[in-house]
Amino acid sequence: MQTNPVIKLAEIHKVYHTGEVDVHAVRGVSLDILPGEFVAIMGSSGSGKSTLMNMIGCLDRPTRGTYLLDGIDVSTLNRDALADVRNEKIGFVFQGFNLLSRTSALENVEMPMLYNRSHISAHEQNERAQGALELVGLGERADHHPNQLSGGQQQRVAIARALVNRPSLILADEPTGNLDSQTSIEIMGVFQKLNDQGITIIMVTHELDIARYTKRTVVLRDGKIVTDEAVRERLVAETELRHLREAQQAINLST
C-alpha cells in the first residue's frame, strides 16, 4: 500500500539576497518523508541544514521548488497561513528549550493551544497539556517554573508543548545541544517512545552518536543532499541508559 509522504520536497532552492552577493543556501533539495519516520538531518555549519529546517518548519518559504506538507502546498502560503500550518501540523523543539520564563510548565504546554483556530475550551487545554506532560514523564511537575527544572526536564516540557496540538510531525533543532550525554540519551528515549507511537520526527543534529538513535540520516553539504540512508546499528535509548548506569555504579558515581 502506498502511503502519502508527510513531507514532500521537490527541487527546493533558497537564495538569500544579502548585500551584493546572493547566498545560495539550499540548492535543489528533494526529499520525501513518510509518516512514522525518524530522520536526522546532519551537516556542518553552512551546509544549509538550518535553512532547510526553517523551510520544513514553515518559518521560511523556499525561493524555488514546491513543498507539500501533509499534501498541502505550503511553499506559496502567506504569513498568517504559515502561522496556522505551524500551529496545527508542526511541533517545534529547540536547542535552547525556548520556554517562557516565570510561566509554569503546564502553561507553557498550553500556549500553542491559545493560537489554535478551532476553539479549545480552557478545561480541555488543561487536560491536554497535563496529558502531554505525563507522556514525557513530567506529570508531577506541571506547576514548576522552568528555573525550577533541570535542562532535561525543560526539554521534556518543550517536547510536551510540541505534542499538544497533535501535529503531523515534530521538528527538533539540535534538541540535545545543551544537554549532557546522559540527559541527551534520555531525551532521545522520549523521542524514540513518541516515534514508536507513530509520530514522525525530523531532527537536526551534528552529533553522530545522537543521530544513531534515529532511523534515517540525511547529510547535507553545500545546500545539497550528499547522503540519505537508513541507520545501521540503531541505538535504543533504554538499553544505552542501562549500560550507562551499570558503568556509573561500577565507579560509584551513582547508586
Binding site: A83, E88, M111, H119
Partner: protein, 405 residues
Amino acid sequence: MRILATLRMAARALRRNKMRTLLTMLGMIFGVGAVIASVSITSGAKSQVENQIASLGQNVVLVWSGNFTKGGVRSGWGSAGTLTLDDADAIKREISGVTIVSPEVRGSAQVAAGDQDWFTSIIGESADYFDLRLWPFAEGASFSDQDVRTAAKVAVIGKTVATQLYGNEDPLGKVIRIKNVPFIVGGVLIPKGLSLQGQDQDDVIIIPYTSAMKRVLGGTTLRTINIQAASQEMLAPVEQQITDLLRQQHRITPGKDDDFTIRTQDEIANAATSTARIMSVLLGVVASVALVIGGIGIMNIMLVSVTERTREIGIRMAVGARGGDILIQFLIEAVTLSIIGGLIGIGGGILASKLIAYFTSWPTLTPVIWIGIASLSSGIAGVISGFYPAWKASKLDPIDALRYE
C-alpha cells in the same frame, strides 16, 4: 485568540515586572489625576458662578443709569441720575413682554432695633421685586402695592441684618429704625449668599421705593430699573425695545451714546462664565499634554518590552501565533497598563479635589462625564501609544526573533 486568555497573559506580563509597571503607570496616574482634580475645581467654581447668576432671578433685564461702557466720567454704577420713575412707568406701560418692572434706589444707612445698631444697604423696590429675583421669604411676606403707593414704613430684611439686630429673636412685626425713621419688619428673606461681586446679598433692607425716596434716602432719580421679561426668548427683543424707548424718553439723537446701560441676564451670565470657559480650554490643553506624556511613557516601556521579549515573540510565532495575535497581545498590555493607571488617577484626582475642598473651602465638583472622558482617554492613549510597539512586534521575523539573544 480568546480575549480572556490575552488579558490573563497581559496581567502576567505586567505582574512580572511590578516596579516597572508601577512607574509606567505613574505618568498616566498623575496625568489623569491632575485632569480630574482641576476639572473638579473649575466645575465647582463654575457651578458657584451659575448659582450666583441664577440668584439674579429669572429672565431679568437690568437698566442702570449712566453709560459705563463708553467714555466720559465714571462715577460708579447707577449714580449718573439719568433714570427716573417716568422711565420705569413708560417701560411698564409701553413694552410688551415685560412682566415685572421694579424701580430701584439704593443707599446705605445706620439702622437700629432695640439697643442694637448696624450699618447696611437700603434698597427701594416695588412689591413684586422678590418674585423677579425668585427670592423666597423665610417668614412674613413682601410689602404690598398699596404700601408702595402710600410710601408705607414697612421693611423686608435680609438674614444678616436679622441676625445682627435681633439675634435669635423673631424680627417679624418688630420696629426697625432706618435713619431714625421707624419701620415695621414685614418679612425676613431666605439667605442668598454672596453676589458675583462678592458682596453679602443678605446684608440688606428692602423697602418700597417710594418710602426710600421720600423718607430715607431722598433723591428723585433711580439707580437701576429691574425688569423681568416674560420668557427667555423675549430677553433680546425686550432689551431692544427698552433701549429704543429710553433713547426716545431721554431725547438722545441718533449717533449719540446711550445715557444708560442695559444688560440681560444671559449677557451677564456669559460675561461671568467666560473666565470659566477660558479655564476649561486651558484645562483641555493641560489634559491633552498630560495624556500625551503618559502615553509616551507607555510607548517607551512597550518598545523596551518588545525588544526584551523578542525571543518570546519568536517562540509564540513558531508555535503558530499570527502577527495579529502578537499585535493584540502587546496592545492589550499597553491598554491594560494605561486604563489601570487612568482608573487609579481618577481615584487619586477625586481624593485630591476632596482634600482641596476640605482645606481651602473651595467648592469642588467632579462631573461624572469627566470620569468617563478620563477613562476613555486613558484607554485611547493606551491604544495609540501601544500600537507602534505592538505593530513592530507583530512584524518580527520568527527566525530572527528565535535567534535573538
